[in-house]
Amino acid sequence: MILTKAQYDEIAQCLVSVPPTRQSLRKLKQTFPSQSQATLLSIFSQEYQKHIKRTHAKHHTSEAIETYYQRYLNGVGRNGTAPVLLELANEVDYAPSLMARIILERFLQEHEETPPSKSVINSMLRDPSQIPDGVLANQVYQCIVNDCCYGPLVDCIKHAIGHEHEVLLRDLLLEKNLSFLDEDQLRAKGYDKTPDFILQVPVAVEGHIIHWIESKASFGDECSHHAYLHDQFWSYWNRDDCNQAEIQNSKKLKKACL
């Protein structure tokens, strides 16, 4: 799927300060019916993440945390079954999962002697049943389930997508009879940083020589292009001097190959 820059900008424009809920996603889908759900979600997720990165700090001041916690306590005090935490997150324009984490941390601090470790928090977020307070467990669960950009479920989805696309890519390569070395083989050869696939015989796609393929399974916006170039691709370049960095959004590849 290849988007023009204009299309992308239009989508991104719509995503300013939209809460990461299914409702927002549904609206987006209605606005851009021609785009696939996955593309929209990917763009949405990236835009929202950028937004969160910008605003993250202000939600983590001790005052903010205290305010949120008090509001949560008040809310559940009035009605434990109401979506207090989710609404709070939406109201302050913060990711529900991250809000749940803030409150959970604060809660555990209050109820336990030792400050909770990160792994404990993560484990409770993955399985809210472990949260000692039933009401909070429900609230957290609600937040996680309703967050389409953050949270353990979303992470898992992303991971699954990455894995799936690697598998897809491998299948495509096999189908096209392109000989390649995958990441495991490369690692076995001692590469420290490896792309997903190195083509043993380079191919030309649209006039570019392609030596290797890295599937990022996400929308390749400018920002992520830049970041990946910095973090990964130059390393590949350094390790395989004649390589041309070729970022393959797997969606693009899918389209190109199918």
Binding site: R22, G134, C156
Partner: protein, 1236 residues
């Protein structure tokens, strides 16, 4: 310096410490007594040598005419018997200035020598001009008697240049006793002085020339030299270098110290003079005085000095090992003590062990000392040729003084097979005609070709004429042949003709002069023979005879200057007469090329460790080949040096400082004719010094005086000095050079250091310059140095001057014929044999290698390259192959073993390091297979590759040989690598596998080892897991079925999910779990968890179903159907553990609490089904239920929960028919409702 010796004598300092002190620069463990003397360290050895020479001066006068001059001390030269005795001793003694402290006297000798023989220091010259009269002024009683020797030496008056005039003979008389490289004596029987000792015109400016302080003490010496032109002067006047003052102070201190001693122990020591035995006057009596061990005067002192002297020799602190041996043999064969003047020999009372008293007071002392030193040097002696050994072993003095040493020598003699033929083999004079190498095709025109042919004829004609006539008296090369040669050279117009002629010239040179005979071994061989034949009548007559016989080609003592003996003379004279610039240039080019070629010639290197007796012959061949190459190189290098430095050859006296500087500036920019420094460094690095250094020495020996001052060559000398120092003969370890190799290098280097053009101070360089050598000679592998390539024959061929030792001994025998003449007849030193020293054999492997070399030699070079390339690649591929097969298999084994281990030991499996050890110990032995497999691989792969790469037309036999060699080389390479590395490789791979396995085992242990992947028929069309998770969690695609978020809320009133979609979703989940193509464990885990959440929502009736009227709860039957679907997925679909206990978590059960009316039957149904399907055990469920009761619930909910619990417990363990269960639930529900 003297202080050092004194402290040694007083045993304040051990000899070992002293030698350490001398040899090493900064030793922390220096003896305290020596620490303060550090600045003087480098002067110690020259001092010692000079001291010994000086002390022996009275003993050696009657020695054979062979020069015995030590490099540093002209004073030590033995006098010539019968020399006119001019200049009374009294006068001579007056030469000493009154204030001279005795202890320092010895130290002063060297500068005298310098001054005399070379370009003495300025003050000396000035004084010299004044003449003896001036010097006589300051005679004082203080002058110690033992200084007489020196005084005697100083007898020469400035006006009488260098004629022996002393009685006792003037040892410093360099004309009489030419130190180094004396030329054949003139008609008068005098040895012509070598250039080194030529009287040098003295000029005021000379004082500015490069200071020469080497081998001497600081230039304060007042020891007069015999060189009248340069009488030395009393130093401590004006213009003393600072070092002198310190020496001055040292002397002062010594004197005080001594007087202290005297006061403390006034007992006079035993008189040391030989006063009891009046010395025979020098009357030309040649009979030697009998030496008696009992009459040795001060044994202890002699022993000590012998020890330190020997240590210096052993540590290579002396410039020339053989010169010292020669000196020692001279002492051994000293005939009688020179009649010392009584006043000189008066014992110094009270200080017997100091330097005050003469060291050698009698022949007994000399012999004792010599034998002592010889004992220490036995190792070197044992490597000398058989003839020398025999002479030594039969020496009656030696027998008398040390029967033990004599025994050892005798044994060495008997065991020695090193019969060096000193007889001259007939020189290969056959003129070679090799027209085939100079065919027409190589010439530009017919005319050039014919001209060249003519030139060949002229050349050989000239050569033949020279052969016939050069020995005729009065024949002169230039006069006889000069014009013809020049005419011939004139015809060589074209450059190509020059190169042709040069090739011919060089070939002829090699052919004629390569053989040892061509290098002037004649004398060496003949001298003993002559003595033998004549029966050793009288030394005088003998000497005359000998001189006559030997004169033309005398090797001139232990350190002869470079000469062009035999046929070499022809080529030298030819070059000189031709005096053609083009010819010289072409010759240099050609010589350089040939030298490079020969120097880098890969001489076969048989394994030095292989010692089986079978291949002696081959080894002999190797040695012969080495000898041929070495001798050729030396010859070529000598001529290269000759031609290269020919233009700079100038008048003897070095120029003034200013002139010298400007010459240096000029010369330093002239590139060397051949980059010998690089070749030397290469040679050292490749451990081929034994090949490179000897020819380099030849090259350098012909350098002019300026050369050693040039930075480029100076650096070479520094390297050579380091090398010399490092060649300690006693060091025998792995990787060390072979003894005879070392001996050869020591001999040639020692000789080089004595060449007149080489400044003496080079040897005693500043210590600072002697660093950073070790780095260079890190022994890389087995080079030539470690192989016994040198034998005595080669040693004596390269260094004929070693034969002087034998001559000296022989002349002693002949001289003492009166007593032991019988000896002479027994000596039959000249038999040509080829039986040479122990020949390390070598193996069939070596032979194979040689065969392979030979094979390649006859084939085009591309064949060799191909074979080597194939071998290299196949060997490398073999290793890769082993890695990919054997090692990979072993890694798989390791993984499965590890898994077993983990299963056995539980999940944690124990310490990873320990696991690794266990695995490796099990698997590494299998690595042994690698060699077999590697061999098979190479055998299989190499021939094909060779065949593919060689031309089709390659003969079958050549092809198969090439294939075999390739197989062999490849196998060798691969097996070498494998045998060295296979264990480490397996270890590394297994380690990686272990850590991989352990890591992977961490998060989802249960997923491991289970089936993965879907059936073959699967076409992977199942929905993607990510899609499913999204659907279950939040999904907004139409129709909206974002189940969990919808169920959990908040939701709009109209939101809901259709039952169909719900069923469809579960169906998709089933497909995905079946297909598994895209499923990764984390996704599956989340799917499992989501499904459990979904079940809980179903049980709690929280799923808003879109119905025709409005969203509502599910029908019970629908819910059960969905739960059934989920149950079967849990049972069969998921491969990860499903967190079913979450169904009974307080949170999920709590969902029920919010519903009105509460539906317990679905939960009970679910629990029963779980038990029935074996998904959960009853105890597990009971435990969960039990923990539920602990949670806080509304009172009514707790009661209902308790009822449910009881109901579940009340049921029989075996599942009842479903209908009945439902009824029960039904009843139960009724009860609950009734209660509420």
């Amino acid at each position: 310096m003297a202080a050092v010796l004194e402290s040694l004598l007083r045993e304040e300092v051990s000899v070992a410490a002293a030698v350490r002190w001398i040899a090493r620069s900064a030793q922390s463990s220096e003896a305290a007594a020596l620490r303060s003397l550090r600045p003087l360290r480098k002067e110690f050895v020259p001092f010692l040598l000079n001291f010994l020479r000086e002390q022996s001066s009275r003993v050696l006068p009657q020695g054979p005419p062979t020069p015995a001059k030590a490099p540093g001390s002209s004073a030590a030269l033995p006098g010539r018997p019968g020399g006119p005795s001019r200049g009374g001793r009294g006068a001579r003694s007056q030469l000493f200035p009154p204030a001279e402290p005795s202890s320092a006297a010895a130290a002063e000798a060297p500068p005298a020598r310098r001054g005399g023989r070379r370009r003495g220091p300025g003050p000396g010259r000035e004084r010299g001009g004044r003449g003896p009269g001036g010097l006589e002024e300051g005679v004082g009683g203080e002058s110690p008697p033992w200084a007489a020797g020196r005084r005697r030496r100083s007898s020469g008056s400035p006006g009488s240049p260098g004629r022996a005039r002393s009685d006792p003979p003037n040892l410093s008389n360099l004309e009489e006793f030419p130190p180094v490289g004396s030329l054949p004596p003139g008609p008068a029987g005098r040895t012509k002085p070598s250039r080194r000792i030529n009287p040098t015109p003295v000029s005021e400016e000379r004082s500015l020339s490069k200071p020469k302080t080497c081998f001497t003490s600081p230039p304060i010496s007042c020891v007069p030299s015999s060189q009248p032109s340069v009488p030395d002067t009393s130093p401590w006047g004006h213009g003393l270098p600072p070092g002198c003052r310190s020496l001055q102070e040292e002397r002062e201190m010594l004197r005080k110290e001594r007087s202290k001693h005297l006061q403390q122990s006034p007992t006079p020591a035993c008189p040391t003079s030989e006063s009891g035995s009046p010395l025979p006057s020098r009357t030309g009596n040649l009979t030697a005085e009998a030496a008696d061990p009992a009459r040795v005067s001060s044994r202890q002192r002699l022993e000590l000095i012998a020890l330190i002297y020997s240590s210096c020799i052993a540590e290579n602190l002396v410039p020339n090992l053989f010169l010292e041996l020669f000196f020692i043999l001279q002492l051994l064969t000293a005939r009688r003590m020179v009649a010392a003047k009584d006043s000189d020999l008066e014992p110094t009372p009270g200080a017997p062990d100091s330097l005050e008293s003469p060291l050698f007071q009698s022949v007994h002392d000399c012999v004792f000392f010599a034998v002592q030193v010889l004992e220490h040097q036995f190792q070197v002696l044992s490597y000398l040729d058989k003839g020398t050994l025999k002479l030594l072993a039969e020496n009656e003095r030696l027998l008398c003084f040390s029967p033990a040493l004599q025994g050892r020598l005798k044994a060495a003699y008997e065991g020695s097979v090193a019969k060096v033929s000193l007889a001259m083999p007939p020189s290969a004079q056959a003129v070679s005609f090799q027209p085939e190498t100079d065919n027409r095709a190589n010439f530009s025109s017919d005319r050039a070709f014919h001209t060249f042919k003519k030139q060949r004829d002229v050349f050989f004609e000239v050569l033949r004429e020279w052969e016939d006539r050069h020995e005729e008296p009065g024949w002169d090369f230039e006069k006889g042949l000069g014009s013809r040669i020049r005419a011939m050279m004139g015809q060589l117009s074209a450059a190509c003709s020059h190169s042709h002629f040069v090739r011919l010239f060089q070939k002829q040179l090699l052919q004629m002069c390569q053989s040892p005979g061509g290098t002037g071994g004649t004398v060496l061989g003949e001298a003993p023979d002559v003595l033998n034949m004549l029966g050793a009548d009288k030394l005088g007559r003998l000497r005359r005879l000998q001189e006559r016989l030997v004169a033309p080609q005398s090797s001139g003592g232990p350190c002869p200057p470079p000469t062009f003996p035999g046929c070499q003379g022809f080529f030298r004279d030819f070059i000189l007469s031709a005096s053609s610039f083009q010819f010289n240039q072409h010759l240099m080019d050609s010589l350089s090329l040939k030298i490079r070629e020969l120097n880098s010639l890969a001489l076969p290197q048989p394994e030095p460790s292989d010692e089986d007796g079978e291949s002696d012959v081959d080894w002999q061949g190797e040695r012969r080949q080495f000898a041929v190459v070495l001798l050729s190189l030396r010859l070529l290098a000598k001529f290269l040096g000759f031609v290269a430095f020919l233009p700079y050859r100038g008048p003897e006296p070095p120029p003034t400082r200013e002139l010298q500087d400007s010459i240096l500036a000029l010369r330093s920019q002239v590139p060397p004719a051949l980059d010998v420094r690089a070749l030397l460094q290469q040679g050292l690095r490749a451990r081929r010094a034994v090949l490179t250094v000897p020819w380099l020495v030849e090259f350098l020996s012909l350098a002019d005086h300026i050369v050693p001052l040039l930075d480029y060559y100076r650096s070479i000398f520094v390297v050579l000095l380091h090398l010399h120092r490092s060649l300690v003969l006693s060091k025998e370890s792995e990787g060390e050079m072979c003894f005879l190799n070392k001996l050869l290098l020591l001999a040639v280097l020692g000789w080089l250091f004595q060449i007149p053009t080489v400044p003496e101070d080079l040897f005693f360089l500043e210590e600072g310059q002697l660093d950073a050598f070790e780095v260079d000679t890190v022994p890389s592998e087995h080079g030539l140095d470690g192989m016994p390539v040198v034998d005595q024959h080669l040693l004596y061929t390269c260094c004929p001057y070693i034969g002087e030792l034998r001559k000296l001994l022989a002349s002693w025998v002949s001289g003492s014929s009166g007593r032991s003449g019988g000896f002479v007849r027994k000596i039959t030193p000249t038999t040509t044999t080829t039986g040479l020293g122990a020949q390390p054999p070598h193996t069939t492997q070596g032979l194979q290698a040689q065969l392979a070399q030979a094979f390649f030699h006859n084939q085009p070079p591309s064949l060799r390259r191909t074979v080597e390339f194939v071998a290299e690649r196949i060997g490398s591929n073999c290793v890769k192959h082993i890695k990919a097969t054997l090692v990979a298999d072993l890694v798989h084994q390791a993984e499965s073993l590890l898994r077993e281990q983990l299963v056995m030991q539980g999940q944690d499996g124990g310490d990873p390091a320990q696991l690794l050890e266990i695995l490796c110990s099990q698997l590494c032995p299998h690595g042994a297979q690698a060699l077999t497999r590697g061999r098979e691989f190479c055998q299989k792969k190499s021939p094909g590759a060779v065949r593919a790469l060689l031309p089709e037309e390659t003969p079958a036999a050549v092809l198969s040989s090439a294939e075999n060699i390739a197989v062999g080389l490849a196998t060798e390479k691969a097996c070498a690598w494998l045998s060295a590395n296979i264990t480490a490789l397996i270890r590394r791979e297994v380690k990686a596998a272990v850590s991989r396995t352990l890591r992977a085992q961490g998060p989802e242990p249960a997923a491991r080892g289970e089936r993965r992947g879907c059936s073959r028929a699967c076409e992977h069309h199942a929905p993607l897991p990510s899609h499913l998770i999204s659907e279950i969690k939040v999904h907004s695609s139409p129709p909206p079925c974002d189940v969990l978020s919808l169920a959990v809320g908040p939701r709009d009133p109209e939101e809901g999910i259709s039952l169909d979609h719900l069923e469809q979703l579960l169906g998709q989940l089933g497909q995905t779990l079946q297909c598994r193509q895209f499923l990764c464990p984390p996704a599956e885990q989340h799917l499992a968890k989501c499904s459990v959440d979904l079940a809980s929502l179903l049980v709690a009736d929280q799923i808003p179903v879109l119905g025709p009227p409005a969203p509502r709860g599910l029908e019970r039957g629908q819910a059960r159907r969905l739960l059934h679907l989920l149950l079967s997925l849990w049972k069969d679909g998921f491969q990860v553990p499903v967190p079913l206990q979450l169904l009974l978590s307080p949170r999920n059960v709590g969902l029920l609490a919010d519903t009105r009316p509460r539906e317990w039957d679905l939960l009970l149904f679910l629990l029963r089904e779980l038990v029935e399907k074996g998904l959960m055990g009853r105890p597990e469920i009971e435990a969960c239920l039990g923990s539920l009761r602990d949670a806080q619930w509304p009172k009514d909910f707790s009661e209902e929960l308790a009822t449910l619990f009881n109901l579940f417990l009340a049921e029989p363990p075996m599942p009842e028919p479903q209908l009945r269960a439902c009824e029960l639930v039904q009843t139960n529900r009724g009860t609950v409702l009734a209660q509420s």
